[in-house]
Subunit: 225 residues, 2 copies
């Protein structure tokens, strides 16, 4: 596990490692997280392990009960649905606030970022689009000029990351996503708060649909073998 901690403590580093492992699915939902095991696995003592676990528990990534150990939080489909709805609402709120309070420079930067994505769509480069997409949404978070809301949005996005990883693989999704972004960008550009809210909500709800379809297709493949 390579070098030591430059500025981070072991507990912080471990919290990051574990979060990654959970978000990438390496640690499956419901998996038991016993302190001794993790301590041995990561070459530290139980103390930093406990601190990392407590941190992850407060973020909701793991589920820790007083004397019964911790497990990776199991996200039910109902909770996933709630997460997507919440994400949509928060994103829409960000778009609303951004439409109201972005500076001209920020609006231009968003527009040019959006324009650059057109070329990626033409190339059909899903991976590059995914990266640019994160930047696009982050720009809107920042444009809301509200650190609290932006933090909530980022946190939700992180929690949903494992479930939307493959979203752009769905047929025609790239082009559709770009068109929706276009509506959002235009609404923000002209400072139309209501439209910005509506179009963003629509955009994110379609993301959920895309993920649903992929999940459905995946489960059908599993059944048919």
């Amino acid at each position: 596990m390579q070098s030591d901690s430059p500025a981070q403590t072991r507990a912080e580093w471990l919290a990051g490692e574990l979060a990654d492992a959970i978000l990438t699915g390496e640690l499956a939902p419901g998996a038991r997280l016993d302190e001794t095991g993790l301590a041995a696995r990561y070459g530290v003592s139980r103390t930093p392990v406990r601190e990392a676990l407590r941190q992850l528990a407060t973020t909701g990534l793991i589920d820790a009960k007083p004397r019964r150990g911790a497990t990776v939080t199991h996200v039910t489909s109902a909770q996933l649905e709630e997460l997507f709805v919440a994400m949509g609402e928060i994103e829409a709120t960000c778009a609303r606030l951004a439409a109201m309070s972005m500076t001209p420079i920020e609006r231009r930067r968003l527009a040019s970022l959006h324009q650059a994505m057109a070329e990626i769509v033409e190339r059909g480069d899903e991976s590059a689009y995914a990266d640019a997409n994160v930047r696009f949404h982050s720009t809107i978070y920042k444009g809301a000029h509200n650190g609290i809301v932006a933090e909530i949005a980022s946190s939700l996005r992180r929690r949903l990351a494992p479930f939307r990883r493959a979203q752009f693989r769905a047929e025609g999704r790239l082009r559709l996503s770009y068109a929706e972004h276009d509506a959002v960008v235009q609404a923000i550009a002209r400072g139309d708060a209501v439209q910005a809210h509506t179009t963003m909500l629509h955009h994110v709800s379609l993301v959920e649909d895309a993920v649903d379809q992929l999940a459905l297709a995946a489960s059908e493949r599993r059944i048919r073998g």
Copy 2:
């Protein structure tokens, strides 16, 4: 300080104690939280203290830097402004969702809760109104049928609690608050999502105004006093 821990751990208990102390202002913003001192003060060792601090740090209540100790988060007026805006947006979102997805029973319960508050307004009982107000808003959170959003709303409300404690003391605030609630209740009752959002946003922004006025009055008293 009383009895021992029935089901919760010392760290959890301590996190609650410290959170209370911070929210009541007993621990002022910027106050240093040294582990040894807290351990002695609360009669535990440093281990649970550290775990409690880490938990509070992830909730944003305290500010902990790697090797430089923890302090109570200092909320600047800019951040407070952001918190109020965020709270307004989330509350409005809850109202929107509630308008869309509350069951008839829930709508009726909200209406009757609201009606009961009329009598409290007549009596001018600020304390009773404050309690009922919490129930009123919580009912809307639940009515959103989205645990994630409800949790975010509750968390923001907790963080703002110290700053809105005296809001109903402002002149005529009780009656005004009731009138605004009325608009929200009516919008939700008829399932008007847009109106529910708008009226709630208005309501919460007026709360902020009320708090601002009280803060202003208080600072003036301090200067003259």
